[in-house]
Symmetry: C2
């Protein structure tokens, strides 16, 4: 088999790690997670590691170190695991850095993933779900029945059409245009006669072209009413807009999304909220995770690292052989440390990114009942950028719609608003896409903007993994190691945090084993 996009995941990583004795023995069917007794070896002697942060990187670090018998202590400022993998539920209470407090009153079983919500198939995140027994389910990253609504200079401006119709019309006209060019001979310098025959066959199917090579609409656009019994042949949509209107309206501007390496279907998520993964990590660590402990200082000392923190208002200190620091870099830079100036400069290099979401809990699932939308994303060039429909509780009594999920400039518009104003703007824009139902039967709502959320102050880091500052932070500072998605080529993804944690574990383990 050539060209398979197979990635290694946990297995492949363990293969590499087995050289330093960290690989678990082969497990028998049925699958069960590796545990301490499965390890083929340990670093000689006793070693203690303090892990700063109980997000994905911190918990994975502690979990893997535990397998090899390390004495692990995790310090976490928040009262929950997961960091930016934060699932909002009934009872969630958060005061943002502007001082506004929100309390979530979602009904039982409802949640909003404020941070990570998707897992691509190639990501090691799935291997940890398997290892920890966290159930996964499909995440509808694309839905032909969701809508697009964009501004343009055509009659299609600010008009909602289904993703299905947008695809049919865009692909139809693209196929027609290319068939026309091919037939006319204008591509004969690059297409042989055989190529043209094969291309024509593809384009006819891809664009659903007529025998004359023209696109004149297609059942792929969808129906106003579904074909049914007897002589109910269904009601087709009106004829498609003109070629020029389709092309200039740009209704296909987001089609690349579903082709991206990290976004193409199938995509997955953790059943019940993405934070379930980190609660599962946390359960393996028990009281080794210390919630409500706010780190204030971190200093290399002779033969160890001393970390100062407060817990319940009381100043405390812990000295261990090593520290793995998974706090966001711009927050590490604010700690009292004895880090060298170049490292402090490197910690300042990643720019904190603005991103946020707003969840709207409805007491009726109008998107399913009225609009036949079961999950998926509507796209727009309005400030809300996209609307995401629930991926679970289908046919239930209620559901939480993501009223916006945006990044950068568009999130900077919502960020300074108080929650009620964010909601009002989201409803105003969303109702222009999905109609009056969008503003009715709202039970509750919750929003967050990561630059305004304590202990994160950033959605993720924006910087280059080729920069000297990045590469500097890959190196330990004496006995302090850094880890996190910002030190990976999957920034903003759990995979980045988890692989970075595994790299830190390998480095600590190799050093403790005296191998270099």
């Amino acid at each position: 088999m050539k060209g398979l996009g197979i990635t290694g995941g946990a297995g492949m990583m363990y293969g590499a790690m087995s050289a330093i004795g960290l690989a678990p023995a082969a497990t028998a069917e049925p699958f069960r997670a590796p545990s301490l007794g499965d390890l083929v070896g340990r670093a000689p002697g006793h070693h203690s590691v303090t892990v700063l942060g109980a997000g994905p990187a911190g918990l994975c670090t502690a979990y893997e170190l535990r397998k090899a018998g390390y004495d692990v202590t995790v310090l976490e400022a928040r009262l929950r695991p997961g960091g930016r993998v934060w699932s909002i539920r009934d009872g969630t209470r958060e005061t943002d850095l502007d001082g506004e407090t929100q309390r979530c009153t979602f009904a039982g079983g409802q949640h909003l993933n404020m941070g990570a919500t998707r897992i691509p198939q190639g990501h090691v995140t799935l291997d940890y779900c398997r290892e920890l027994g966290v159930e996964i389910q499909a995440f509808p990253n694309h839905n032909a029945n969701a809508l697009v609504n964009y501004t343009s200079d055509t009659p299609l401006t600010k008009t909602s059409i289904t993703q299905r119709a947008a695809r049919a019309d865009t692909f139809g006209y693209v196929a027609e245009l290319l068939q026309k060019a091919s037939s006319s001979g204008s591509l004969d310098d690059v297409l042989s006669a055989d190529d043209k025959v094969a291309l024509a066959e593809f384009l006819k199917d891809f664009g659903d072209l007529g025998s004359d090579g023209r696109y004149v609409g297609s059942s792929r656009r969808g129906y106003l009413s579904e074909p049914g019994a007897g002589t109910d042949y269904g009601t087709r949509l009106p004829p498609p807009p003109s070629l020029s209107d389709v092309v200039r309206s740009g209704i296909g501007r987001n089609f690349g999304f579903d082709l991206e390496h990290d976004q193409a279907m199938m995509m997955y998520t953790a059943v019940g909220g993405m934070d379930r993964i980190y609660y599962a990590f946390g359960r393996t660590l028990g009281s080794r995770v210390n919630f409500g402990t706010v780190v204030t200082a971190m200093r290399n000392v002779p033969d160890g690292v001393t970390v100062d923190y407060t817990s319940g208002g009381v100043a405390r200190s812990i000295t261990s052989d090593f520290v793995v620091c998974t706090l966001p870099p711009h927050l590490v830079e604010r700690l009292r440390t004895n880090l060298p100036p170049a490292v402090l400069a490197a910690l300042r290099a990643p720019r904190p990114v603005a991103s946020g979401k707003l969840g709207i809990e409805y007491s009726t699932r109008w998107w399913e009942a009225e609009q036949r939308i079961y999950g998926g994303i509507s796209n727009t060039d309005k400030d809300i950028r996209e609307i995401m429909f629930p991926y679970d509780n289908f046919h239930g009594a209620r559901g939480v719609v993501v009223g916006y999920y945006n990044t950068g400039r568009r999130q900077e518009i919502f960020e300074p608003l108080r929650h009620r104003d964010r909601l009002a703007k989201a409803l105003a824009e969303g109702s222009e896409i999905h109609g009056d139902s969008y503003t009715k039967n709202i039970a509750s709502s919750f929003s967050g903007s990561w630059r305004r959320i304590q202990y994160s102050e950033s959605a993720w880091a924006s910087w280059s993994s080729r920069s000297p500052e990045y590469k500097l932070l890959l190196q330990p500072v004496d006995r302090i190691y850094f880890a996190g998605d910002h030190l990976s080529n999957a920034m903003s993804w759990q995979h980045g945090a988890l692989t970075s944690a595994r790299a830190a574990v390998s480095a600590v383990h190799a050093r403790a084993a005296g191998l270099h």
Copy 2:
């Protein structure tokens, strides 16, 4: 909102039916299924209906008639509900018309949908899932990580590549070609200067083209190893094949599938097997469904219909006011009836279609662990046509892969084979696509070919819903009404059977109410 592809489903159908008093009253939140007491009216007097067949059409007919107070009796030859919606599980035992008996030994929790396995969002099937409380989940009809493997006259012949790479390369070159034609002015008769600017913007994104308008590969093709921590930038696939090789190999020949009205994602299925829907229908009907009753005759008599059947080898007879006959048309034609010759001819008109599946139960989920394929379909032009990976039990100990699902000529190759030879052929072809793992760790298997399955003898009917014969069967013969997916514009779909049942119910009800 213009152009929304919204379909009515149960709600809309009820809207139409309310004219004759069959609509349930509005239900309160949280949703609960309508029941007898919810009905706004009943047909005057007492009416009995015998329903032939407990597949989707028969059960839906009985269920809806019950709501309006009809005295309903369902006769079903099989010992289970669902008809061609048949989920194979541990304990399933079936002797085909060639006399071969298979016994299913799948582990608990495993199943194979021998018939219907998908539900499009627009189908009324989903409304019945909601109404009956049958849980649904996503069905991965497309997966970028699944494979394509086709015969061609290029170096890509019989080579497995990911759907992801096939899309990236096909779309990349299509975009490059159209950009070239547009830039050269050869489409200036149909593209204005503004159109060309907008088209270029779309094509650059759609094909992931370089700034020179060329396609030279893209991260969208996938990685040999996933980008990870530190300086692990991932390993890209080798450069893409040439434009000519991609076009002539036809790796995009199945892309139209995911654009079809009935197949575009998101698609859904019933949790635990599609037959769960019909067990749920059956529970509402209780002992009104008589399993193991084989109909032998059906005759209009004065003021009623008499049906002869055998039950436990004993000949019996039932006379009721009406019959709704949902048996396959070619099996109705074999009954002893007093149907007119034109109706008998019409019953012979639909051609029984050959289609079938083979399920392979593996004791390891190698497709997930080794190939990072979580659900979805690999396509080929081999006789197996496609391989479908499990949509549930992700990360479980085992799973059932559909080793082929094909129709027509390709199924006619498998149909006459005994099961062991079907399996051998499926494994030989499948292993050429997915490698050696395909032939290992096989726990059990089960296959069926619908033309050889008793009481069906056809996967579905092939005929035109515009034909005179079709239209003739839409009319009752005195007090006998016909229903089934073969009398709909959604043949082979549950939606067709269910809407046809609803049409039959409406017709019987209108007649019973004396409205015409």
